[in-house]
Point group: C2
Chain length 459, copies 2
């Protein structure tokens, strides 16, 4: 991958002041924006361009746009302080790609970490260049005046380790060999992703988050944050997710992996600089894509409509619009995503189980101190509402503060990326109420019992 | 495939007397049973071994077993009387593999045609040899005293055209080239399957069926029978199916086809006598298999249990039982099923739409004369109950006799192959009541209006 890394001579500790990071384009081929580090560019800024340490503070513009952002890179876990992974293996140095939006407050009490799903990245909002066709993947929720209001909050997006959008993953260069890791990359878990994110926060000087927010795999990371690092998370927003990867989702992921590994171009993961296993990865993506849409959404979007023909071709061509759409989705995915990362990230998903090595979900949540907003989507069949309700039930059983909200939506699992109007009020109000209680909430060491009674749950 | 064919010098007409057919093992490697054509062997028969013409009549034994059966082959549509397909192409000669159970009555009024789903075959019940480990695919419903009681009914199983279990399909030898058809085989539709079955019935001398019965694609064939040949079908039992292939099912099939065609061993369909595209076909089957099981069934059957290990391997091995199961299902499927047939049959499924070229489902059913039993399964998400209810609603709108029954089952789509106890009473009673009305029901030409008022629907 050849990312520039800012070397540090030791593993940073919690609460350490931000260290230098360097600006990079997000691997999209765009030039670094002229405005550099100090804030959004390309539109009139309504916040002044300031930094705390090297942390840029931009505020976007009056139209709700998060503005022009740049992906940045931090290097953590440098030898001999490599990150010890759940598998027992050690990984380091680790590059972490991240983006920030808004201004970190003087008290550093307004930081929100946004966590991505399988194929997401650090680019959660705004654009890398003024002529970018599409903004970041959760732009609908992040910007001035939006639910994650960058006039009030300091929003951080970050690519998970194992990823292929700037953070260290199987397509990165293994410093031991000088070649891409490939399948020599260690298996990583959701807990490992969170550990690496914690190192990034250390680097940014953020001891405690106002909130962690994520859907699907991002929701799993959010839950893991609450369980593994309760003292560092004031609020958790978990969308369209589960406390453990369900069987059916493991099954679909396994088929996707088999499709990739069946492609001769996969070559046991050693394909960098050669032909990529595009056909296998496309099939894997097509499978995944179906699971993200509801039966109803597929029917309404495509029905049995034909693509550019008036009658059946009586061939194996893509007669139906839904076939053409899936082929396009599969093909375009191979242009932006690494096949090995698909293997590693789906493995991390499948391994995710908060109750692993633990007695019950209620026990797992016993020492959690965060306030929770758990959101389900009615037509999501990858993570149906019952899976979210299980989380809510366990939190309530230990008298945690938890709000449950079920969005009526026909969009299926993808609803958390689409249903802006149905989500923004709930998320915005939850974040705002949490911001008011931030300095009254317990921030003790892991395992501390809340010093004030948790508020009663609300629905 | 090198099947022996019994040649006929003309295309048989409806009502023609049975012609000679020859006995073959069902491609399972078993020797032809010693008992030959004249009925079940290997257990004491409670029916006498008789034939009408060459139609064997066996009655199985006292334990409900359909006994030892042999797959048989008829050749129809011989040039110059090839079958004209829906695509406009012509196909012939056509070999049709079939099996029969029970005794055709003197009045030929007790024949039931059982229609298989994607991967089924003519072997619907009984065993090909005494030491066969598994009986035919619907053995639970077919045999002496069972719902399709072979002491009363003459049951016919038949492999669809396009198939790979004895009927003419892409793996058969193209008489024009002397080589397997491969992708030179014409695209076939559900309507074409039914036309070929009608030619088989002509050959067997069966003018009118007491019933057609099928689940999934078998249900589509059953509906097509009722619409295309109303004068030949007294009763229709359609299970876990739809009046048109739904969008999501097209999507899953398309991914399976892409997986097969992505396998370099597929070689544009020309792989016979070489390496078969096993990896691609296995992936296709794994996808299909997930759609046949419910989320709930998968969870109960496998959960997150590990396969022969105590902890995660932190590799891409099949750690989870569900992964191991799917890999096995995929692999074993490739040993019995032809990849090109998978392409052709899924294409036929996706093309199925009773309302194609017609105004509405109500209009489509207007000239139907059959009595209907439509059965849905509560956890079937490939063909959820709403798709069956659509059929029922359209039939009721034209005052047809239709019974709707929703089986409460956690098994998903596969429930129609598993829920014996919940199905047999309903199906048995429906068939028996239809047998009583058979000679009073209209049997006029296609499009005839019932001469007696249809009974009111029942639920």
């Amino acid at each position: 991958m050849g990312k520039r890394r800012d070397r540090a001579d030791r593993r940073p500790g919690a609460g350490e002041a931000p260290r230098e990071t360097r600006d990079r384009s997000g691997g999209q081929g765009a030039s670094p924006p002229a405005a550099g580090l100090s804030g959004p560019a390309g539109r009139p800024s309504r916040g002044s361009a300031k930094t705390i340490g090297d942390v840029p503070m931009g505020a976007g513009d009056d139209t709700g746009n998060a503005g022009i952002v740049a992906t940045r890179y931090a290097t953590v876990a440098e030898p001999p302080n490599e990150l010890r992974l759940e598998s027992g293996e050690r990984l380091g140095p680790i590059t972490i790609a991240y983006e920030t939006y808004g201004t970190l407050s003087e008290r550093r009490d307004n930081a929100i970490l946004v966590l991505h799903a399988l194929s997401g990245d650090a680019h959660v909002a705004g654009r890398h260049a003024p002529d970018d066709k599409r903004p970041g993947w959760w732009d609908m929720m992040i910007g001035p005046g939006k639910a994650l209001d960058t006039d009030r909050y300091f929003v951080i997006g970050t690519n998970v380790i194992g990823g292929c959008s700037g953070s260290t993953g199987p397509s990165s260069t293994d410093p031991k060999t000088g070649r891409p890791y490939g399948t020599g990359f260690p298996i990583i878990t959701v807990a490992d992703m969170v550990e690496a994110q914690a190192l990034l926060l250390d680097r940014l000087g953020i001891e405690r988050l106002l909130a962690v927010v994520g859907g699907s795999m991002g929701g799993m990371q959010a839950l893991e944050w609450a369980v593994a690092k309760p003292e560092r998370v004031h609020q958790v927003i978990a969308l369209a997710t589960a406390a453990r990867q369900p069987t059916q989702a493991i099954a679909f992921n396994e088929v996707g992996r088999q499709a990739i590994m069946a492609d001769p171009d996969w070559n046991d993961g050693d394909y960098y600089g050669r032909g990529v296993p595009a056909k296998g990865l496309a099939v894997a993506r097509m499978i995944g894509h179906i699971t993200y849409l509801s039966d109803e959404a597929m029917h309404e979007k495509f029905g049995r409509r034909l693509q550019d023909i008036h009658d059946y071709s009586f061939t194996f061509s893509a007669d139906f619009q839904v076939e053409s759409y899936l082929r396009y989705q599969g093909l375009s995915f191979t242009e932006r995503f690494d096949a090995n990362t698909y293997l590693y990230i789906t493995r991390a998903l499948d391994y995710f189980d908060l109750t692993r090595d633990r007695r019950s979900l209620v026990d797992v949540f016993r020492d959690v101190t965060s306030r929770f907003l758990v959101m389900a989507f009615s037509s999501d069949w990858l993570h149906p509402p019952y899976q979210l309700k299980e989380i809510v039930g366990a939190l309530r059983a230990t008298h945690k503060h938890v709000s449950y909200y079920e969005v009526q939506s026909g969009f299926g699992h993808d609803a958390f990326l689409l249903e802006r109007e149905k989500m923004e009020g709930v998320i915005g109000a939850f974040l705002a109420s949490g911001a008011r209680t931030y300095h009254f909430a317990p921030a003790g060491p892991r395992g501390a019992t809340p010093s004030v009674p948790a508020p009663s749950s609300e629905d």
